[in-house]
Symmetry: C4
Subunit: 199 residues, 4 copies
């Protein structure tokens, strides 16, 4: 498959997912400035969603830049991943109306867990496609990404899952803190060559 066209298609979808989140930021009926305060919970939720997609795009961009050959399997793994990503605005909207409510936070957790699984599946398919294409360096670069090693570490996943479930029972809003911590951890450390990919 033509990599360039798939990247462009993916980027268009991610750009729309990112931008429709602002549609949920409702302007008040009133003209009092204070009327906007009611949107602060959504502002927080939106900022987290933005950070999330930002880190996701960066990692996606790196994996694809390393890859020369896109198989049909990778195409469908990418679609599955985009499908889970498309629920981020939904979860963001619901959580943004009740940051410390259990229902929205459980939904966010399910979306986040599905997203993580889909992302890992996509990475794994890219690793395999690169190996099949005799590009061991690209495969190794993807394997060495922080996000890949993080998700592949099932003890860490289990720990994060347990901590999140406990948080959901007692202080649902804590889940957003866990998500932010994970995003910052993954986003802040990166393969050194990521800065030196040139068109």
């Amino acid at each position: 498959m033509k990599k360039g066209r798939l990247e462009a298609f993916t980027d268009a979808i991610l750009a729309i997912i990112l931008t429709i989140m602002i549609l949920e930021f409702k302007t008040p009926e009133s003209f009092q400035f204070s009327a906007i305060y009611s949107q602060i919970p959504y502002l927080i939720s939106y900022a987290i969603g933005y950070l999330f997609i930002g880190v996701a795009w960066y990692n996606h961009h790196y994996m694809f830049a390393k890859t020369r050959w896109i198989s049909r399997r990778v195409y469908w793994a990418n679609n599955m991943w985009l499908f889970t990503t498309s629920f981020v605005p939904v979860a963001t909207a619901w959580v943004g109306r009740g940051l410390n409510e259990q229902g929205p936070e459980i939904f966010y957790f399910i979306v986040f867990a599905s997203w993580t699984a889909a992302y890992f599946f996509l990475s794994y398919q890219l690793v395999k496609a690169n190996e099949k294409d005799h590009q061991p360096k690209a495969a190794a670069a993807i394997r060495s990404m922080v996000i890949y090693r993080y998700i592949a570490n099932w003890k860490l996943d289990l720990l994060q899952g347990i901590v999140t479930v406990v948080a959901l029972v007692y202080v649902p809003a804590l889940q957003m803190v866990i998500v932010v911590l994970m995003i910052v951890f993954i986003g802040a450390r990166f393969n050194k060559d990521s800065d030196h990919l040139i068109d």
Copy 2:
């Protein structure tokens, strides 16, 4: 016509069609997690729509990758096809509110049938444009696609039409099963070289 610009334009439209479907996934007013259950029918409908566009994109991408020359006739066939595709979110939304209701399912059927006709017309114009451009290999590759042979087989179309009409009368939801079966059948088998198109 410049192929690259038309591909990019088409991709942008498909990406928007794909992504606006999530706007119909409404977050509940309530904060009960169970309130989200009411969205399960739409979730199913959305997943099918996603699969649909995913298979469509893959086939479109392949046909265009094979083609060197875009005539005005192909441009308008492509527009007509995009026009029918733009009704997929509408049909998906209505069916998603009543998976087993006759009205929405008939509408879905009309959209699906129009889409199929438009897709075939586009393929046929691409075949002809390639023949005119002395690219018999590209024309043959498009003719040999599963989706092309499927639609070109009028006995199969007639059979599918009859089965769907019967389903619409007795168990409308069955239509979605037929659509999924067809999508999987077309999506799962593909020209071997589709995996080896490089930018």
Copy 3:
């Protein structure tokens, strides 16, 4: 200015303008198939809007393919043109609720006239930019486009304006017929080399 990036930006905006028109096609609350009949006026209006943008894109694509050099003046003429184009969905939505109502049809006329003026201004700036860039062939190609000669013919514009105003007074819906006739006239005849632009 980099032509490629401006083309891509323009295409993204046109793709969104094209696609948000489907958002106005509302699915019925009811599950009766006949409930969708109420959307037929909008369907007609939407089809015309689609045709409109389709012809516009084709002409825009041709003009830009011929042009090597984008000045800041062209950039702003392009923006102004996109601004007027962004009102097409609005006019389409209003007319789609009352095909033979005077208010919506007058609004459509104003949008259409502004669009025509903005399109001509853009073409004219492209002609001048090409002349300044010592590309007389490109300038001549743009000047010889049917749409350019149509709009540049002030007698024709005046005639169309008068006929439309008379139509608006007596049978507002006739305006849509005039628009369709003009689009088909412009869309059907084209510079011969438009089919032979290669990436």
Copy 4:
């Protein structure tokens, strides 16, 4: 980072931000032409927002055309800038319902000020990235942009801030005039080579 992919991603986001503003232009329930007059305040607000994004895109395009190398830091500065830009449609919508109301105008001012800060931060990171990449000419070109020198001039910023605050207290609508003046000032004067960037 691959510059081309980031530019395309940014353009898609800006195109969506630009275009969703038209969604707020509501068509009247009535069929009286005069019913559209109620949208005139929003029309003004929308035109200003459009001008704003148009100038922003032009400046962004120039800075990136000059830059060869995109660091992770620039990526995140770009994201932060896009995040602030995504609030332009929100501020535009609220101001468009009350052009001379204090609440919306204060909100617009906050969005505008955040946007300005984010834009400057992005420019500054691009200057630094270019210096690190031994591209002193590119760094100097960015530093010499009118928008860069305008924002970097803290006396001017302070003056504009004070005048705006006074306006907000007495005649809130004046703020829009100040914004337009600034946009026109920045948009009208530009580095000469901006017209001569070729793909």
